[in-house]
Symmetry: C2
Subunit: 469 residues, 2 copies
């Protein structure tokens, strides 16, 4: 995959060397020779990946990494730290500064390209979800309560696939330090079954299994819808670059060589779990925002926007199939006086209870919507007027039979006026069929409220005007 790579090193020769190798592979390369310049380019040129030298005069690589990961403008950029040392404490400092991976000089081309490809692929999937014009606050307003939990990388559910019991016990104990709950499983097929029944944040697969191929399991996880977005960490035999790169190619998120350093394992697991939770949250916000855009927050019923689109669809389908379509429109009698007389919130209680009673008394394929303050519509596909009138009588009876219990404990008797109309599926558009139903509702009001009415007039006589609302 193509990617824009920012190479940061204070030694011009090193920069040049990497630039040539990366450009040959068609990466788009930009370069910086010190930390402040790197920060500037990270912000202005939107690189996908930063190859960041650790040892630089002035601001060192750790500090650059920390600042990149802290700023909302650049935190999505993936950082690979490049060091001449393979010192574990340096790796840890890097991971703690937010680095996505470490490479040791001299950098092996196969590993470098595999790592870049893997990070870019994961980054692009995330980029799809990054909110552009809307702020993080919008996300908070949409996220379900409890979603905010997912900002930490601890306390996760982890599945460990390892058939060597003592090694498994060691890893489990290490992960326990971050309050992870670890399930150990010795067989790949067993792991797949466990994953079907339960949601894990991270799967740790060792590629050291006896007679089983951990990479095959990784591939299966990535091809299955329900496990596609799970974070995967592989544990690879030291120096087994083939298996390391093949894993990255298959979509493994991160790898760690044996012998496993406890602190490094914890740091990498934390990063993966944190990323997974953030991504889950973005995905959930999408589905939730669609739901919220189409439903009424107070009652949970469909809103006017969805209703109108759906009515158009039903008109088209009914016309095509030569089947009838009826509308029931109702409102609560003297709704304004409920709010005025019973304090704030009483009206809301009545609307919620009305929605509940309506939903309980319609067929599964009828649509109940709240299209205005106390105005509800039920769409009945396949029903002609007489059937809709019978349904309306039932709905009306269900609404008024028992008083509504308000939040404060009082009860309140309500009545409702109901209009029923059959759409002219050949001549009506959305507005015209709404007018029909509205006129029927008006007829019910005219007859003294608290009743079900239809339009007595001949269809042709109905005056079509603007829809109500």
């Amino acid at each position: 995959m193509s990617a824009r790579v920012l190479v940061v090193d204070d030694v011009p020769h090193n920069v040049k060397l990497l630039e040539v190798r990366l450009t040959r592979e068609y990466y788009d390369v930009i370069t910086a020779e010190n930390g402040p310049r790197a920060l500037e380019l990270a912000r202005d040129r939107d690189p996908d990946i930063i190859l960041l030298d650790v040892m630089m005069p002035g601001m060192d690589g750790f500090e650059v990494c920390r600042r990149i990961k802290e700023s909302p403008d650049t935190s999505h950029i993936r950082v690979i730290m490049v060091t001449s040392l393979s010192d574990r404490s340096d790796r840890l400092r890097g991971l703690e500064a937010g680095a996505d991976d470490f490479l040791t000089k001299p950098v092996n081309d196969v590993v470098l390209f595999a790592r870049i490809e893997s990070l870019v692929r994961l980054k692009r999937a995330m980029d799809e979800w990054r909110l552009r014009e809307t702020s993080r606050e919008s996300l908070d307003a949409i996220a379900a309560p409890g979603d905010a939990l997912g900002t930490d990388g601890r306390g996760a559910d982890i599945l460990l696939v390892e058939d060597n019991a003592p090694l498994a016990a060691n890893i489990e104990a290490a992960l326990g330090e971050d309050d992870h709950r670890v399930v150990v499983c010795a067989r790949c097929d067993e792991a797949l079954k466990l994953l079907e029944g339960r949601d894990f944040d991270l799967v740790v697969v060792t590629l050291l299994l006896d007679g089983q191929d951990g990479l095959r399991l990784c591939s299966q996880l990535r091809t299955t819808e329900s496990t596609r977005h799970m974070a995967i960490l592989t544990i690879v035999d030291e120096g087994d670059i083939d298996r390391l790169t093949k894993g990255l190619e298959l979509g493994v998120n991160d790898s760690i060589f044996t012998p496993v350093d406890r602190h490094e394992l914890l740091a990498r697991a934390r990063t993966l779990v944190h990323g997974k939770r953030y991504q889950d949250r973005l995905r959930a916000s999408y589905e939730r925002s669609i739901e919220m855009a189409l439903t009424d927050g107070l009652t949970g019923l469909y809103n006017r926007r969805y209703f109108e689109t759906h009515l158009q669809t039903l008109l088209d389908r009914s016309r095509a199939a030569g089947r009838p379509l009826s509308l029931i429109m109702l409102d609560i009698d003297k709704f304004k006086s409920i709010n005025d007389g019973h304090g704030h919130g009483a009206g809301d209680d009545v609307l919620r209870e009305t929605a509940r009673r309506l939903n309980a008394n319609v067929r599964t394929f009828d649509t109940v919507a709240r299209i205005g303050g106390d105005e509800f519509v039920i769409l009945m596909p396949g029903s002609a007027l007489d059937e809709a009138v019978a349904a309306a009588e039932r709905l009306h009876a269900g609404l008024i039979e028992a008083p509504v219990t308000l939040a404060k404990g009082e009860t309140l008797a309500i009545t409702a006026s109901v209009g029923v109309a059959e759409a002219d599926t050949i001549g009506d558009d959305v507005a015209a069929s709404l007018v029909r139903a509205d006129e029927a509702l008006y007829e019910a009001k005219r007859r003294g409220r608290n009743c079900v009415a239809t339009l007595a007039a001949v269809e042709g006589e109905v005056v079509l005007g603007a829809p109500v609302g």
Copy 2:
């Protein structure tokens, strides 16, 4: 990348051969020996890619492809048709049946794997946007009017990068048959500049340029945010498999060999443009659904949901910074009687005009929200009570100074009651600060409406109850 591949061929030996080669590369392989079985597996096992033999007894590959692409359950699966002929008319029939590509037997492994990788990568990006629980109808309800245009693959804006003028003219003429508007450009750097200023649906890049590398341009398009999602079609010298596969690796969507067949070019361009438009539509629906979830459809102001989250954020920030925060709450006097007395829609006109006048009279960092029927709130970060009262007087004057012109042409004078309160940024939560503002509004009503009021009471005496709304 890992992928689930469905191999369909009526000759068991052919199936086995492909299965072994694909499994060795860690693809997850399922197989079918006839069309009906292939359709079943496509529906039930959710493959990413189908390698589909053309010549099969009973239902042939074209028919299988057509059915897969027609069904909403399977249309997202990518289909590569495998044929022993390289007959152009077969290729065309396949493309018209919706096939994503063609491979000729014997299948070259390098091309096969490059094609699978490329298709899977593009598919995964789309999969991110596929709506799960919500239907296509939800999308229609969210899509902006006009978005529906994008269901066809004709009439697109296409940029053609080709330095051979006669060849460019031929391609342009061919694309004109589908009403595409083609801009021809001979240089890659010029192409990049053109793309900055204008939105194209498709870029056609020939890899035959003199002294310029078209692949470099493809890579640059993919690494730049604004052109990342553009469809790219390369024209490759017949047999130049290296450049073909490198292009696919870089994110090129499709390729065609020279000599270019006019019908094949048109068919491929149509598929790409159609896919690009559909994807744009999914992306737009995301941003739009978030906007709709947080704003009020009638006035375009923020809704109560966003308002409450934002108020919480401002309370936290104001407390942290030791700065004041004030709220102005207002409603239109006797709003109910406007609807009752002036017919449907008059109330809506008044609310829209109120929103407009409020927005025109606040500072850029103030937030105006409609939190109930005719109830508006303005949040003023950094402002203490006296400053907020001055602002409220100004808003009030702006609201009542001129009558509102209704859609029908009549004008209507309105008045409004306004309450102003400063939040106690240390002790107040969202509900408590709303109660303060509501009590101030109540005070304005008590004083005879059409005025600005604050709470005269000592802060401690304010009775905190449930928020209004």
